[in-house]
Protein backbone atom coordinates (compact mmCIF):
# COMPACT_ATOMS: atom_id res chain seq x y z
CA UNK A 1 0.00 0.00 0.00
CA UNK A 2 1.29 3.46 -0.83
CA UNK A 3 2.15 6.09 1.77
CA UNK A 4 -0.70 8.40 2.82
CA UNK A 5 -1.12 11.11 0.24
CA UNK A 6 -2.41 14.40 1.62
CA UNK A 7 -6.15 14.68 1.97
CA UNK A 8 -7.05 11.78 -0.27
CA UNK A 9 -7.78 8.72 1.81
CA UNK A 10 -6.24 5.46 0.69
CA UNK A 11 -8.77 2.77 -0.27
CA UNK A 12 -8.29 0.95 3.01
CA UNK A 13 -8.29 3.42 5.84
CA UNK A 14 -7.35 0.68 8.29
CA UNK A 15 -5.76 -2.59 7.38
CA UNK A 16 -4.40 -5.20 9.74
CA UNK A 17 -3.01 -8.64 9.12
CA UNK A 18 -2.24 -11.36 11.59
CA UNK A 19 -2.02 -9.17 14.69
CA UNK A 20 -0.76 -11.11 17.68
CA UNK A 21 -0.27 -9.75 21.16
CA UNK A 22 0.80 -11.81 24.12
CA UNK A 23 0.87 -10.37 27.63
CA UNK A 24 2.87 -11.97 30.38
CA UNK A 25 0.77 -12.78 33.41
CA UNK A 26 1.20 -14.58 36.73
CA UNK A 27 -0.18 -17.82 35.38
CA UNK A 28 1.84 -18.09 32.19
CA UNK A 29 0.76 -15.73 29.47
CA UNK A 30 -2.39 -14.23 28.02
CA UNK A 31 -2.78 -14.40 24.29
CA UNK A 32 -4.85 -11.23 23.95
CA UNK A 33 -4.74 -11.25 20.14
CA UNK A 34 -4.25 -14.43 18.21
CA UNK A 35 -4.10 -13.39 14.57
CA UNK A 36 -6.54 -10.56 13.96
CA UNK A 37 -7.15 -9.45 10.37
CA UNK A 38 -9.17 -6.34 9.66
CA UNK A 39 -9.90 -4.15 6.72
CA UNK A 40 -11.88 -0.95 6.90
CA UNK A 41 -12.54 0.82 3.60
CA UNK A 42 -12.23 4.60 3.75
CA UNK A 43 -15.39 6.39 4.80
CA UNK A 44 -17.01 3.37 6.43
CA UNK A 45 -17.66 2.23 9.99
CA UNK A 46 -16.37 -1.02 11.37
CA UNK A 47 -17.92 -2.31 14.56
CA UNK A 48 -15.69 -4.54 16.63
CA UNK A 49 -18.08 -6.61 18.67
CA UNK A 50 -17.03 -8.88 21.48
CA UNK A 51 -17.37 -9.79 25.15
CA UNK A 52 -15.04 -8.78 27.98
CA UNK A 53 -11.46 -9.78 27.36
CA UNK A 54 -12.05 -10.52 23.68
CA UNK A 55 -9.19 -8.28 22.59
CA UNK A 56 -11.08 -5.22 21.38
CA UNK A 57 -9.10 -2.69 23.38
CA UNK A 58 -5.82 -4.41 22.57
CA UNK A 59 -6.64 -4.15 18.86
CA UNK A 60 -7.48 -0.46 19.19
CA UNK A 61 -4.29 0.20 21.15
CA UNK A 62 -2.16 -1.41 18.49
CA UNK A 63 -3.85 0.50 15.67
CA UNK A 64 -3.47 3.79 17.55
CA UNK A 65 0.28 3.20 18.15
CA UNK A 66 -0.03 2.74 21.92
CA UNK A 67 1.09 -0.87 21.75
CA UNK A 68 3.37 -2.72 19.40
CA UNK A 69 2.14 -6.10 18.22
CA UNK A 70 4.25 -9.22 18.75
CA UNK A 71 3.46 -10.29 15.20
CA UNK A 72 1.50 -8.99 12.26
CA UNK A 73 1.33 -5.67 10.47
CA UNK A 74 -1.09 -2.79 10.39
CA UNK A 75 -1.48 0.30 8.28
CA UNK A 76 -3.65 3.24 9.22
CA UNK A 77 -4.32 5.89 6.58
CA UNK A 78 -1.86 3.98 4.43
CA UNK A 79 0.92 4.37 6.97
CA UNK A 80 2.60 1.47 8.70
CA UNK A 81 1.98 1.88 12.44
CA UNK A 82 5.33 0.34 13.32
CA UNK A 83 7.35 2.35 10.81
CA UNK A 84 5.96 5.85 11.27
CA UNK A 85 3.75 6.04 14.35
CA UNK A 86 3.99 9.82 14.52
CA UNK A 87 2.47 10.16 11.03
CA UNK A 88 -0.30 7.78 12.06
CA UNK A 89 -1.03 9.93 15.10
CA UNK A 90 -1.52 12.95 12.85
CA UNK A 91 -4.34 11.15 11.03
CA UNK A 92 -6.26 9.66 13.93
CA UNK A 93 -8.41 10.59 16.87
CA UNK A 94 -8.80 8.24 19.82
CA UNK A 95 -11.29 7.99 22.61
CA UNK A 96 -10.14 5.18 24.84
CA UNK A 97 -12.29 2.85 26.90
CA UNK A 98 -11.71 4.82 30.11
CA UNK A 99 -12.25 8.54 29.75
CA UNK A 100 -8.84 10.18 29.90
CA UNK A 101 -9.83 13.71 30.81
CA UNK A 102 -7.81 15.88 33.12
CA UNK A 103 -9.92 16.33 36.23
CA UNK A 104 -8.38 19.60 37.37
CA UNK A 105 -8.76 21.33 34.01
CA UNK A 106 -12.13 22.60 32.84
CA UNK A 107 -13.85 20.96 29.91
CA UNK A 108 -12.82 23.83 27.68
CA UNK A 109 -9.23 23.68 28.86
CA UNK A 110 -9.07 19.97 28.18
CA UNK A 111 -10.10 20.50 24.57
CA UNK A 112 -7.83 23.51 24.20
CA UNK A 113 -4.89 21.48 25.41
CA UNK A 114 -5.59 18.73 22.92
CA UNK A 115 -5.98 21.28 20.12
CA UNK A 116 -2.62 22.80 20.98
CA UNK A 117 -0.99 19.39 21.09
CA UNK A 118 -2.36 18.74 17.59
CA UNK A 119 -0.69 22.08 16.69
CA UNK A 120 -3.88 23.73 15.48
CA UNK A 121 -2.78 27.17 16.61
CA UNK A 122 -4.26 29.09 19.53
CA UNK A 123 -7.23 30.76 17.82
CA UNK A 124 -8.24 27.66 15.89
CA UNK A 125 -7.93 25.49 19.00
CA UNK A 126 -10.15 27.89 20.95
CA UNK A 127 -12.77 27.99 18.24
CA UNK A 128 -12.79 24.23 17.85
CA UNK A 129 -13.14 23.74 21.60
CA UNK A 130 -16.19 26.01 21.58
CA UNK A 131 -17.79 24.11 18.69
CA UNK A 132 -17.27 20.73 20.31
CA UNK A 133 -18.58 21.85 23.70
CA UNK A 134 -21.73 22.90 21.89
CA UNK A 135 -21.97 19.75 19.85
CA UNK A 136 -21.59 17.53 22.92
CA UNK A 137 -23.98 19.54 25.06
CA UNK A 138 -21.34 20.64 27.56
CA UNK A 139 -21.68 24.40 27.22
CA UNK A 140 -23.09 24.91 30.70
CA UNK A 141 -20.30 22.92 32.32
CA UNK A 142 -17.57 24.15 29.97
CA UNK A 143 -15.75 26.27 32.51
CA UNK A 144 -15.92 23.94 35.49
CA UNK A 145 -13.11 21.54 36.38
CA UNK A 146 -14.10 18.15 35.03
CA UNK A 147 -13.85 16.49 38.41
CA UNK A 148 -17.29 17.99 38.99
CA UNK A 149 -18.60 16.21 35.86
CA UNK A 150 -20.75 13.12 35.91
CA UNK A 151 -19.40 9.95 34.33
CA UNK A 152 -21.42 10.50 31.17
CA UNK A 153 -20.23 14.11 30.84
CA UNK A 154 -16.61 12.96 31.12
CA UNK A 155 -17.25 10.33 28.52
CA UNK A 156 -18.69 12.94 26.15
CA UNK A 157 -15.76 15.26 26.73
CA UNK A 158 -13.34 12.44 26.02
CA UNK A 159 -15.17 11.73 22.78
CA UNK A 160 -15.03 15.38 21.84
CA UNK A 161 -11.28 15.15 22.40
CA UNK A 162 -11.01 12.56 19.66
CA UNK A 163 -12.61 14.96 17.18
CA UNK A 164 -10.60 18.08 17.92
CA UNK A 165 -8.34 17.89 14.88
CA UNK A 166 -11.07 16.56 12.56
CA UNK A 167 -8.94 13.51 11.82
CA UNK A 168 -9.87 11.34 8.83
CA UNK A 169 -9.87 8.21 11.00
CA UNK A 170 -11.41 7.87 14.45
CA UNK A 171 -11.13 5.09 16.99
CA UNK A 172 -13.82 4.85 19.65
CA UNK A 173 -13.42 2.19 22.31
CA UNK A 174 -16.86 1.47 23.78
CA UNK A 175 -18.01 5.03 23.15
CA UNK A 176 -21.47 4.64 24.66
CA UNK A 177 -20.70 2.58 27.75
CA UNK A 178 -21.95 4.58 30.71
CA UNK A 179 -24.09 6.98 28.67
CA UNK A 180 -27.78 7.44 29.32
CA UNK A 181 -30.14 6.64 26.43
CA UNK A 182 -30.45 10.26 25.35
CA UNK A 183 -26.69 10.80 25.25
CA UNK A 184 -26.28 7.51 23.47
CA UNK A 185 -28.68 8.56 20.73
CA UNK A 186 -27.00 11.96 20.50
CA UNK A 187 -23.65 10.26 20.11
CA UNK A 188 -24.98 7.99 17.41
CA UNK A 189 -26.07 11.13 15.56
CA UNK A 190 -22.60 12.62 15.90
CA UNK A 191 -20.99 9.47 14.56
CA UNK A 192 -23.41 9.32 11.63
CA UNK A 193 -22.61 12.95 10.87
CA UNK A 194 -18.89 12.21 10.86
CA UNK A 195 -19.34 9.33 8.48
CA UNK A 196 -21.46 11.43 6.13
CA UNK A 197 -18.55 13.86 6.03
CA UNK A 198 -16.22 11.06 4.96
CA UNK A 199 -14.63 10.03 8.23
CA UNK A 200 -13.64 6.42 8.79
CA UNK A 201 -14.64 5.05 12.18
CA UNK A 202 -13.60 1.96 14.06
CA UNK A 203 -15.69 1.48 17.14
CA UNK A 204 -15.84 -1.30 19.67
CA UNK A 205 -19.00 -2.24 21.44
CA UNK A 206 -20.63 -4.96 23.42
CA UNK A 207 -24.05 -4.07 22.10
CA UNK A 208 -25.34 -5.69 18.97
CA UNK A 209 -27.94 -2.97 18.44
CA UNK A 210 -25.23 -0.34 18.45
CA UNK A 211 -23.12 -2.17 15.91
CA UNK A 212 -26.29 -2.77 13.96
CA UNK A 213 -27.22 0.90 13.92
CA UNK A 214 -23.82 2.39 13.18
CA UNK A 215 -21.55 -0.10 11.51
CA UNK A 216 -21.32 -0.81 7.80
CA UNK A 217 -19.64 -4.03 8.71
CA UNK A 218 -19.11 -5.94 11.91
CA UNK A 219 -16.26 -8.09 13.07
CA UNK A 220 -17.11 -10.37 15.97
CA UNK A 221 -14.07 -10.93 18.17
CA UNK A 222 -13.68 -13.67 20.72
CA UNK A 223 -10.54 -14.76 22.55
CA UNK A 224 -8.26 -12.77 20.31
CA UNK A 225 -9.69 -13.94 17.00
CA UNK A 226 -12.23 -12.62 14.53
CA UNK A 227 -14.80 -15.40 14.53
CA UNK A 228 -17.30 -13.82 12.18
CA UNK A 229 -17.49 -10.80 9.97
CA UNK A 230 -19.95 -9.23 7.61
CA UNK A 231 -22.75 -6.72 7.43
CA UNK A 232 -25.19 -6.76 10.28
CA UNK A 233 -27.86 -8.20 7.99
CA UNK A 234 -25.61 -11.06 7.02
CA UNK A 235 -24.79 -11.76 10.65
CA UNK A 236 -28.42 -11.59 11.66
CA UNK A 237 -29.40 -13.99 8.92
CA UNK A 238 -26.84 -16.30 10.43
CA UNK A 239 -28.39 -15.72 13.85
CA UNK A 240 -31.79 -16.96 12.76
CA UNK A 241 -33.93 -13.93 13.45
CA UNK A 242 -35.92 -13.02 16.52
CA UNK A 243 -36.23 -14.75 19.89
CA UNK A 244 -39.39 -15.63 21.70
CA UNK A 245 -38.94 -15.24 25.44
CA UNK A 246 -41.41 -16.86 27.82
CA UNK A 247 -41.51 -17.01 31.59
CA UNK A 248 -43.74 -19.80 32.91
CA UNK A 249 -45.18 -20.66 36.32
CA UNK A 250 -43.55 -22.94 38.89
CA UNK A 251 -43.37 -26.58 37.89
CA UNK A 252 -44.29 -25.93 34.27
CA UNK A 253 -40.83 -25.45 32.78
CA UNK A 254 -40.73 -28.90 31.18
CA UNK A 255 -44.22 -28.70 29.69
CA UNK A 256 -43.48 -25.18 28.48
CA UNK A 257 -40.27 -26.29 26.87
CA UNK A 258 -42.06 -29.03 24.95
CA UNK A 259 -44.73 -26.61 23.72
CA UNK A 260 -42.20 -24.02 22.65
CA UNK A 261 -40.08 -26.60 20.88
CA UNK A 262 -43.02 -27.20 18.60
CA UNK A 263 -42.94 -23.58 17.46
CA UNK A 264 -39.20 -22.96 17.47
CA UNK A 265 -36.77 -22.59 14.65
CA UNK A 266 -33.90 -24.04 16.66
CA UNK A 267 -33.01 -25.32 20.10
CA UNK A 268 -34.98 -23.97 23.07
CA UNK A 269 -32.80 -22.61 25.79
CA UNK A 270 -33.93 -22.99 29.40
CA UNK A 271 -32.94 -20.82 32.31
CA UNK A 272 -34.12 -22.94 35.23
CA UNK A 273 -33.89 -20.45 38.09
CA UNK A 274 -35.88 -17.75 36.30
CA UNK A 275 -38.16 -20.31 34.60
CA UNK A 276 -37.47 -18.53 31.33
CA UNK A 277 -37.48 -20.20 27.94
CA UNK A 278 -35.85 -18.68 24.87
CA UNK A 279 -36.27 -19.93 21.34
CA UNK A 280 -35.46 -18.57 17.90
CA UNK A 281 -38.65 -18.23 15.89
CA UNK A 282 -39.58 -17.18 12.39
CA UNK A 283 -42.66 -15.15 11.52
CA UNK A 284 -42.53 -12.18 13.87
CA UNK A 285 -45.79 -11.31 15.63
CA UNK A 286 -47.61 -14.30 14.17
CA UNK A 287 -45.26 -16.49 16.17
CA UNK A 288 -46.24 -14.57 19.27
CA UNK A 289 -49.96 -15.22 18.72
CA UNK A 290 -49.31 -18.87 17.92
CA UNK A 291 -47.34 -19.18 21.12
CA UNK A 292 -50.11 -17.68 23.25
CA UNK A 293 -52.59 -20.17 21.80
CA UNK A 294 -50.29 -23.15 22.17
CA UNK A 295 -49.47 -22.40 25.78
CA UNK A 296 -53.12 -21.83 26.55
CA UNK A 297 -54.15 -25.16 25.02
CA UNK A 298 -51.45 -26.98 26.94
CA UNK A 299 -52.58 -25.31 30.19
CA UNK A 300 -49.26 -23.61 30.79
CA UNK A 301 -49.57 -20.44 32.85
CA UNK A 302 -47.48 -17.77 31.14
CA UNK A 303 -46.19 -14.99 33.40
CA UNK A 304 -44.37 -13.06 30.74
CA UNK A 305 -44.12 -13.35 27.00
CA UNK A 306 -42.31 -11.31 24.41
CA UNK A 307 -40.12 -11.09 21.37
CA UNK A 308 -36.61 -9.76 21.26
CA UNK A 309 -33.96 -9.30 18.62
CA UNK A 310 -30.86 -11.47 18.80
CA UNK A 311 -28.40 -10.14 21.36
CA UNK A 312 -24.67 -10.34 21.54
CA UNK A 313 -25.11 -13.32 23.79
CA UNK A 314 -27.15 -15.10 21.11
CA UNK A 315 -24.44 -14.36 18.58
CA UNK A 316 -21.88 -15.95 20.82
CA UNK A 317 -23.97 -18.90 21.70
CA UNK A 318 -24.50 -19.52 18.05
CA UNK A 319 -20.94 -18.90 16.91
CA UNK A 320 -18.92 -20.34 19.73
CA UNK A 321 -21.18 -22.51 21.81
CA UNK A 322 -20.44 -20.44 24.90
CA UNK A 323 -22.13 -17.43 26.38
CA UNK A 324 -20.64 -14.00 26.15
CA UNK A 325 -19.38 -13.02 29.56
CA UNK A 326 -21.47 -10.61 31.67
CA UNK A 327 -21.57 -7.27 29.95
CA UNK A 328 -21.26 -4.78 32.78
CA UNK A 329 -17.78 -3.83 31.70
CA UNK A 330 -17.74 -0.23 32.79
CA UNK A 331 -15.16 -0.62 35.54
CA UNK A 332 -14.81 -4.26 36.41
CA UNK A 333 -11.53 -6.12 35.99
CA UNK A 334 -11.18 -7.75 32.62
CA UNK A 335 -11.74 -11.46 32.62
CA UNK A 336 -8.60 -13.25 31.49
CA UNK A 337 -9.10 -15.22 28.33
CA UNK A 338 -8.11 -18.81 28.75
CA UNK A 339 -6.28 -20.17 25.77
CA UNK A 340 -8.11 -23.45 25.94
CA UNK A 341 -10.12 -25.29 23.34
CA UNK A 342 -12.61 -23.20 21.48
CA UNK A 343 -16.29 -24.06 21.35
CA UNK A 344 -17.32 -26.13 18.37
CA UNK A 345 -19.35 -24.53 15.64
CA UNK A 346 -18.58 -21.55 13.50
Amino acid sequence: MSEGCGWVQPMSAIHAEGLVKVFPSRSGEVRALDGVDLDVPAGTVLGLLGPNGAGKTTTVRILTTLLTPDAGTATVHGIDVARDPQAVRRSIGLSGQYAAVDEYLTGRENLLMIGRLYHLGGAAARQRAGELLEEFDLVDAADRPTKTYSGGMRRRLDLAGALVARPPIIFLDEPTTGLDPRSRLALWDVIEGLVRAGTTVLLTTQYLDEADKLADSIAVVDRGRVIARGTSDALKAQMGGERLVVTVDHGQVETGRAVLQGLADGAVEVEEHTRTLVAPVAGGSTALIDAVRAFDEAGVRVLDLGMRRPTLDDVFLQLTGHHAEPTDAADGPEAPATTGARGASR
Binding site: L66, A99, D102, M113
Partner: protein
Amino acid sequence: MSDLAQTVSDTGTITWRNITRLRRQPDSIVFGIIQSVMFVLLFAYVFGGAINVPGGGDYTQFLMGGIFVQTVAFTCATTCIAMADDLSRGVFDRFRSLPMSRSAVLAGRTFADLAFATVTTAAMALTGLLVGWRTDAPVLSVLAGFALLALFAYAFLWIGAVIGLSVRSVEVAQTAGLIWLFPLTFLSNAFVPLETMPEWLQPIAAWNPISAVVAAVRELFGNVPPGYVAPDYWPLQHPVLASVLWCLVILAVFVPMGVARYRRAAAR
Protein backbone atom coordinates in the same frame (compact mmCIF):
# COMPACT_ATOMS: atom_id res chain seq x y z
CA MET B 1 6.29 23.12 12.32
CA SER B 2 9.89 22.12 12.86
CA ASP B 3 10.68 19.42 15.41
CA LEU B 4 12.31 21.89 17.76
CA ALA B 5 9.47 24.42 17.53
CA GLN B 6 7.03 21.57 18.13
CA THR B 7 8.92 20.36 21.19
CA VAL B 8 9.02 23.88 22.61
CA SER B 9 5.33 24.46 21.94
CA ASP B 10 4.28 21.08 23.38
CA THR B 11 6.47 21.56 26.44
CA GLY B 12 4.81 24.93 26.97
CA THR B 13 1.36 23.37 26.72
CA ILE B 14 2.15 20.57 29.16
CA THR B 15 3.84 22.97 31.57
CA TRP B 16 0.72 25.14 31.46
CA ARG B 17 -1.42 22.09 32.14
CA ASN B 18 0.63 21.04 35.14
CA ILE B 19 0.84 24.54 36.62
CA THR B 20 -2.91 24.93 36.17
CA ARG B 21 -3.40 21.65 38.03
CA LEU B 22 -1.13 22.88 40.82
CA ARG B 23 -3.01 26.15 41.12
CA ARG B 24 -6.30 24.29 41.43
CA GLN B 25 -4.90 22.24 44.31
CA PRO B 26 -3.71 25.07 46.54
CA ASP B 27 -3.38 22.78 49.56
CA SER B 28 -0.44 21.02 47.94
CA ILE B 29 1.32 24.38 47.58
CA VAL B 30 0.43 25.41 51.11
CA PHE B 31 1.74 22.16 52.58
CA GLY B 32 4.91 22.42 50.49
CA ILE B 33 5.51 25.86 51.99
CA ILE B 34 4.65 24.75 55.53
CA GLN B 35 7.02 21.81 55.22
CA SER B 36 9.97 23.91 54.14
CA VAL B 37 9.33 26.58 56.78
CA MET B 38 9.05 23.84 59.41
CA PHE B 39 12.39 22.32 58.39
CA VAL B 40 14.16 25.65 58.74
CA LEU B 41 12.67 26.29 62.18
CA LEU B 42 13.26 22.77 63.51
CA PHE B 43 16.87 22.56 62.43
CA ALA B 44 17.74 26.10 63.40
CA TYR B 45 16.32 25.82 66.91
CA VAL B 46 16.76 22.11 67.71
CA PHE B 47 20.25 21.52 66.33
CA GLY B 48 21.40 25.13 66.42
CA GLY B 49 23.15 24.84 69.77
CA ALA B 50 24.37 21.28 69.46
CA ILE B 51 26.48 21.35 66.35
CA ASN B 52 29.85 23.01 66.17
CA VAL B 53 30.61 24.51 62.80
CA PRO B 54 34.27 24.18 61.79
CA GLY B 55 35.86 27.57 61.42
CA GLY B 56 33.69 28.84 64.25
CA GLY B 57 30.66 29.93 62.26
CA ASP B 58 27.04 30.26 63.36
CA TYR B 59 24.88 27.15 62.71
CA THR B 60 22.04 29.07 61.07
CA GLN B 61 24.41 30.39 58.42
CA PHE B 62 25.78 26.86 57.97
CA LEU B 63 22.32 25.30 57.94
CA MET B 64 20.62 27.34 55.22
CA GLY B 65 22.67 25.94 52.33
CA GLY B 66 21.84 22.42 53.49
CA ILE B 67 18.15 23.12 54.00
CA PHE B 68 17.79 24.75 50.58
CA VAL B 69 19.37 21.76 48.88
CA GLN B 70 17.45 19.19 50.89
CA THR B 71 14.10 20.83 50.25
CA VAL B 72 14.54 21.21 46.51
CA ALA B 73 15.82 17.62 46.34
CA PHE B 74 12.66 16.48 48.11
CA THR B 75 10.53 18.18 45.44
CA CYS B 76 11.39 15.27 43.19
CA ALA B 77 9.04 13.14 45.29
CA THR B 78 6.23 15.38 44.00
CA THR B 79 7.31 14.73 40.44
CA CYS B 80 7.47 11.03 41.11
CA ILE B 81 3.93 10.89 42.48
CA ALA B 82 2.50 13.14 39.77
CA MET B 83 4.08 10.99 37.07
CA ALA B 84 2.72 7.76 38.53
CA ASP B 85 -0.66 9.41 38.95
CA ASP B 86 -0.87 10.54 35.33
CA LEU B 87 0.20 7.11 34.22
CA SER B 88 -2.44 5.33 36.27
CA ARG B 89 -5.21 7.59 34.98
CA GLY B 90 -4.78 6.94 31.29
CA VAL B 91 -3.97 10.59 30.58
CA PHE B 92 -0.72 9.33 29.08
CA ASP B 93 -2.63 7.20 26.60
CA ARG B 94 -4.26 10.32 25.32
CA PHE B 95 -0.92 12.12 25.07
CA ARG B 96 0.73 9.18 23.39
CA SER B 97 -1.99 9.00 20.75
CA LEU B 98 -1.39 12.65 19.81
CA PRO B 99 1.22 13.78 17.28
CA MET B 100 3.13 15.61 20.00
CA SER B 101 6.76 15.63 21.00
CA ARG B 102 7.77 12.56 22.97
CA SER B 103 9.83 14.48 25.50
CA ALA B 104 7.34 17.28 26.13
CA VAL B 105 5.32 15.36 28.72
CA LEU B 106 8.38 14.93 30.90
CA ALA B 107 9.84 18.33 30.21
CA GLY B 108 6.49 19.96 30.99
CA ARG B 109 6.26 18.02 34.23
CA THR B 110 9.75 18.98 35.37
CA PHE B 111 9.34 22.64 34.43
CA ALA B 112 6.10 22.91 36.37
CA ASP B 113 7.65 21.24 39.40
CA LEU B 114 10.62 23.55 39.10
CA ALA B 115 8.21 26.45 39.42
CA PHE B 116 6.85 24.80 42.56
CA ALA B 117 10.38 24.34 43.93
CA THR B 118 10.99 28.04 43.31
CA VAL B 119 8.01 28.96 45.47
CA THR B 120 9.16 26.77 48.36
CA THR B 121 12.71 28.10 48.03
CA ALA B 122 11.40 31.65 48.35
CA ALA B 123 9.44 30.65 51.46
CA MET B 124 12.58 29.12 52.95
CA ALA B 125 14.69 32.15 52.17
CA LEU B 126 12.18 34.41 53.94
CA THR B 127 12.00 32.12 56.97
CA GLY B 128 15.80 31.97 57.01
CA LEU B 129 15.99 35.74 57.08
CA LEU B 130 13.57 35.76 60.04
CA VAL B 131 15.70 33.33 62.06
CA GLY B 132 18.88 35.28 61.43
CA TRP B 133 20.27 34.00 58.15
CA ARG B 134 22.31 36.70 56.48
CA THR B 135 24.40 36.98 53.38
CA ASP B 136 27.09 39.52 52.63
CA ALA B 137 28.01 38.06 49.25
CA PRO B 138 27.64 40.23 46.15
CA VAL B 139 24.17 40.20 44.59
CA LEU B 140 25.40 38.37 41.50
CA SER B 141 26.90 35.66 43.63
CA VAL B 142 23.65 35.21 45.56
CA LEU B 143 21.72 35.03 42.29
CA ALA B 144 24.22 32.46 41.04
CA GLY B 145 23.50 30.47 44.19
CA PHE B 146 19.78 30.41 43.47
CA ALA B 147 20.45 29.59 39.82
CA LEU B 148 22.57 26.64 40.90
CA LEU B 149 19.78 25.48 43.21
CA ALA B 150 17.38 25.65 40.28
CA LEU B 151 19.70 23.63 38.05
CA PHE B 152 20.15 21.07 40.78
CA ALA B 153 16.40 20.90 41.43
CA TYR B 154 15.74 20.44 37.74
CA ALA B 155 18.25 17.60 37.43
CA PHE B 156 16.80 15.84 40.48
CA LEU B 157 13.22 16.21 39.21
CA TRP B 158 14.17 13.99 36.29
CA ILE B 159 15.24 11.30 38.74
CA GLY B 160 11.80 11.59 40.35
CA ALA B 161 10.15 11.36 36.93
CA VAL B 162 12.06 8.19 36.07
CA ILE B 163 11.11 6.58 39.39
CA GLY B 164 7.47 7.59 38.92
CA LEU B 165 7.43 6.04 35.45
CA SER B 166 9.01 2.86 36.78
CA VAL B 167 6.79 2.14 39.78
CA ARG B 168 3.47 2.89 38.04
CA SER B 169 1.31 3.07 41.12
CA VAL B 170 0.73 6.18 43.16
CA GLU B 171 0.93 4.26 46.44
CA VAL B 172 4.37 2.88 45.66
CA ALA B 173 5.48 6.22 44.24
CA GLN B 174 4.70 7.93 47.53
CA THR B 175 7.37 5.84 49.23
CA ALA B 176 9.74 5.11 46.37
CA GLY B 177 10.00 8.77 45.45
CA LEU B 178 11.06 9.78 48.93
CA ILE B 179 12.87 6.98 50.69
CA TRP B 180 16.25 7.17 48.93
CA LEU B 181 16.41 10.91 49.60
CA PHE B 182 16.90 10.44 53.35
CA PRO B 183 20.23 8.58 53.25
CA LEU B 184 21.31 10.75 50.35
CA THR B 185 20.70 14.06 52.10
CA PHE B 186 21.83 12.93 55.56
CA LEU B 187 25.03 11.29 54.28
CA SER B 188 26.25 14.68 53.22
CA ASN B 189 27.47 17.94 54.65
CA ALA B 190 23.92 19.36 54.58
CA PHE B 191 23.28 19.33 58.33
CA VAL B 192 26.53 18.32 59.97
CA PRO B 193 30.08 19.18 58.92
CA LEU B 194 31.90 16.43 57.05
CA GLU B 195 34.72 16.63 59.60
CA THR B 196 32.47 15.26 62.36
CA MET B 197 31.71 12.02 60.49
CA PRO B 198 33.69 8.78 60.92
CA GLU B 199 36.75 8.54 58.68
CA TRP B 200 35.32 5.82 56.43
CA LEU B 201 32.12 7.77 55.80
CA GLN B 202 33.86 10.96 54.78
CA PRO B 203 34.82 10.01 51.20
CA ILE B 204 31.29 8.74 50.57
CA ALA B 205 29.79 11.97 51.84
CA ALA B 206 32.34 14.02 49.93
CA TRP B 207 31.48 12.41 46.61
CA ASN B 208 27.76 12.64 47.28
CA PRO B 209 26.40 15.18 44.77
CA ILE B 210 24.38 16.77 47.57
CA SER B 211 27.58 17.73 49.40
CA ALA B 212 29.05 19.47 46.37
CA VAL B 213 25.84 21.45 45.82
CA VAL B 214 25.54 22.35 49.50
CA ALA B 215 29.16 23.50 49.61
CA ALA B 216 28.69 25.50 46.42
CA VAL B 217 25.53 27.20 47.69
CA ARG B 218 27.23 28.09 50.98
CA GLU B 219 30.12 29.55 49.07
CA LEU B 220 27.92 31.56 46.69
CA PHE B 221 25.76 32.83 49.57
CA GLY B 222 28.87 33.84 51.50
CA ASN B 223 27.99 31.54 54.40
CA VAL B 224 31.43 29.90 54.72
CA PRO B 225 33.23 31.04 57.90
CA PRO B 226 36.35 33.08 57.09
CA GLY B 227 38.92 30.63 58.48
CA TYR B 228 37.30 27.49 57.08
CA VAL B 229 39.45 25.06 55.10
CA ALA B 230 37.46 22.70 52.90
CA PRO B 231 38.20 18.98 53.31
CA ASP B 232 40.69 17.56 50.88
CA TYR B 233 38.32 16.12 48.32
CA TRP B 234 38.10 17.47 44.78
CA PRO B 235 34.33 18.11 44.73
CA LEU B 236 34.56 20.09 47.97
CA GLN B 237 37.62 21.99 46.86
CA HIS B 238 35.81 23.06 43.66
CA PRO B 239 32.18 22.87 44.74
CA VAL B 240 30.61 25.10 42.07
CA LEU B 241 32.29 23.32 39.18
CA ALA B 242 31.62 19.94 40.77
CA SER B 243 27.93 20.77 41.28
CA VAL B 244 27.43 21.85 37.70
CA LEU B 245 29.16 18.71 36.47
CA TRP B 246 27.07 16.52 38.77
CA CYS B 247 23.86 18.14 37.47
CA LEU B 248 24.93 17.64 33.86
CA VAL B 249 25.78 13.99 34.52
CA ILE B 250 22.42 13.40 36.19
CA LEU B 251 20.59 15.06 33.29
CA ALA B 252 22.63 13.12 30.72
CA VAL B 253 21.64 9.86 32.37
CA PHE B 254 18.07 10.50 33.46
CA VAL B 255 16.65 12.54 30.56
CA PRO B 256 17.16 9.79 27.96
CA MET B 257 16.15 7.17 30.50
CA GLY B 258 12.96 9.08 31.30
CA VAL B 259 12.01 9.55 27.65
CA ALA B 260 12.61 5.86 26.94
CA ARG B 261 10.56 4.83 29.98
CA TYR B 262 7.77 7.16 28.95
CA ARG B 263 7.59 5.57 25.53
CA ARG B 264 7.30 2.15 27.04
CA ALA B 265 5.36 3.04 30.17
CA ALA B 266 1.84 3.21 28.78
CA ALA B 267 2.51 0.31 26.43
CA ARG B 268 1.73 -2.27 29.06
